[in-house]
Amino acid sequence: MPTAVYAGTTVPVTDDGFFLDPDQWREDMAPEIARDTGIDALTDRHWQVITHMRKEFAEKGTGPTVRALGRTSGVSIKELYLLFPKGPAKLAAKIAGIPKPRGCI
């Protein structure tokens, strides 16, 4: 099983880099995960989304889709794509240490 080291801690991750255990995530790991995905610095707006992802996951057991983020995070879909250019739902989930959002059916 692949692992990654963030903020000095080794954590098991999936083949595409998502945390297997969201409880192992700490805030100080987020900037390092972000750099791995090509985001150099996390702004307050990034953090608003990351905090929201954690909250949604804790309540619902799955991360929100981009469309749900646009409705509920306080950040518009357009801005989400500026903050997390290669796919907001996936990237923000990865940086927030939660599983890859399940697609709808």
């Binding site: 794509y81 697609g103 059916i105």
Partner: protein, 414 residues
């Protein structure tokens, strides 16, 4: 006497009311509410643009589909008051309920995508997801003499997730019949990372798209539809050019759900236990069909298979008994593939669509084109009015997904 109010007189509301009337008889009062008298056979919409169905043949009276003894009321719904256990209608009437059945389906939200209702709508930009749209598209297709025809799903969830693929297959057939297939480029543009949500079926379906020379564009999240410039623009700045676009708009739940505190999620769908069909909002609220936020397809077959569980559980709830957690997410879809053939997929919460036969090892072929499946699809139209809506079980086809006949060890693509 206990009162059951059913919101919505479409597939789910009609078959739930009919099953409840048959099971409970005069022990309860059942009232169905809808805003008009047009019960639309939605699976027929796909065929209208190709001249294979006539719009007027798809619509019947709503109350005419209800068993005698069921009351029907034409009114808009203002909101549900969960605490007071009553529904407020737009004409000012208040309906008290002991049990509420939510069956108001999904609503199209084209205005939520930039440009989709703007210049070019009904000219270069069309949809077939409502009757007016499908009818207008028939004219547009008949005038189309060549160029880029783009079929786009804006985002999931949508009703009948295979319908946009079927549209591509039928378009390939339609332009071949007209002798201009070589003048038409067909492009399927999806937000998913493959042709379909489930890996084994996605592989078969993307093979079929390739075979029919339909280009597949994946992970495209449409941010803007430019009808004048003929462009779909994604949120991450990619563009797909079109001469004619067929767009499946965003879906949400009925508008009153948003106005009813505690009832729906951020899209207006109602959070629901996926096995009992009881809502999370209140124990005396049950949900059937597209209105429910459950992880299965929004499709008529699902609604039919849910019918047995919801009728049983409303009766059990009224009797104070424990609910039956029997709904398994069973979905059964014919996929029209053109030239008089169709494929069939059959799956549930736990088992993805795989090859084999349905309902058992002798039956209709799964995940494979055949003439028999096409006939099955046509027969479904008759069954809809005469078996599904009256709330009858179809002999030999149970509500639970059959495992017999399925090749369960087909390797998945993931």
């Amino acid at each position: 006497m206990k009162r059951i109010v059913v919101l919505g007189g479409g597939t789910g509301g009609t078959l739930a009311a009919n099953r409840l009337r048959r099971d409970l008889g005069d022990e309860v009062v059942i009232e169905v509410v809808d805003q008009d008298d047009d019960h639309l056979y939605q699976p027929g919409l796909l065929f209208v643009p190709f001249g294979l169905s006539r719009p007027q043949d798809l619509v019947r009276s709503r109350p005419a589909q209800l068993h005698s003894g069921i009351a029907y009321r034409t009114a808009g719904i203002e909101r549900v008051d969960l605490g007071a256990e009553q529904v407020l209608l737009s004409d000012g009437v208040t309906l008290a309920y002991d049990v509420l059945v939510v069956a108001t389906g999904a609503r199209l939200l084209p205005e939520e995508t930039e440009g989709l209702t703007g210049p070019g709508a009904r000219e270069t930009v069309h949809t077939f997801y409502d009757l007016d749209g499908a009818t207008a598209l028939e004219g547009a297709l008949s005038r189309f003499t060549g160029g880029r025809l783009v079929v786009n799903v804006v985002d999931m969830p949508i009703k009948c997730p295979v319908a946009p693929l079927e549209f591509c297959f039928l378009a390939d057939w339609y332009f071949t019949e007209r002798g201009i297939r070589d003048q038409v480029e067909l492009i399927y543009v999806t937000p998913l990372d493959a042709a379909f949500t489930k890996p084994v079926a996605a592989r078969t379906l993307s093979g079929l798209l390739a075979e029919k020379h339909v280009e597949l564009v994946t992970e495209f999240n449409t941010g803007e539809v430019d009808g004048i410039g003929g462009r779909l623009v994604s949120y991450d700045g990619r563009e797909v050019l079109f001469d004619l676009a067929v767009v499946v708009p965003l879906h949400g739940g009925a508008a009153y759900v948003d106005r009813s505190p505690g009832l729906g999620d951020e899209f207006g769908f109602v959070p629901t236990d996926k096995h009992t069909l009881q809502s999370s909002a209140a124990p005396n609220v049950f949900v059937i069909g597209d209105a429910a936020a459950v992880p299965t397809s929004k499709a008529g077959s699902v609604t039919h298979f849910e019918g047995e569980t919801i009728a049983r559980n409303v009766a059990r709830f009224l009797a104070g008994d424990e609910l039956d957690a029997s709904f398994d997410g069973h979905t059964n879809c014919f996929i029209e593939s053109g030239f008089g053939k169709a494929m069939l997929i059959d799956f549930n919460y736990d088992t993805e669509p795989v090859p084999g036969h349905y309902p058992a090892s002798i039956g209709m072929p799964l995940l494979k084109q055949s003439r028999l499946n096409h006939l099955g699809k046509l027969m479904f139209g008759w069954l809809y009015w005469h078996s599904l809506l009256p709330g009858r079980d179809i002999p030999g086809l149970g509500a639970g997904m059959p495992l017999a006949g399925k090749h369960l060890h087909t390797p998945s693509a993931t």
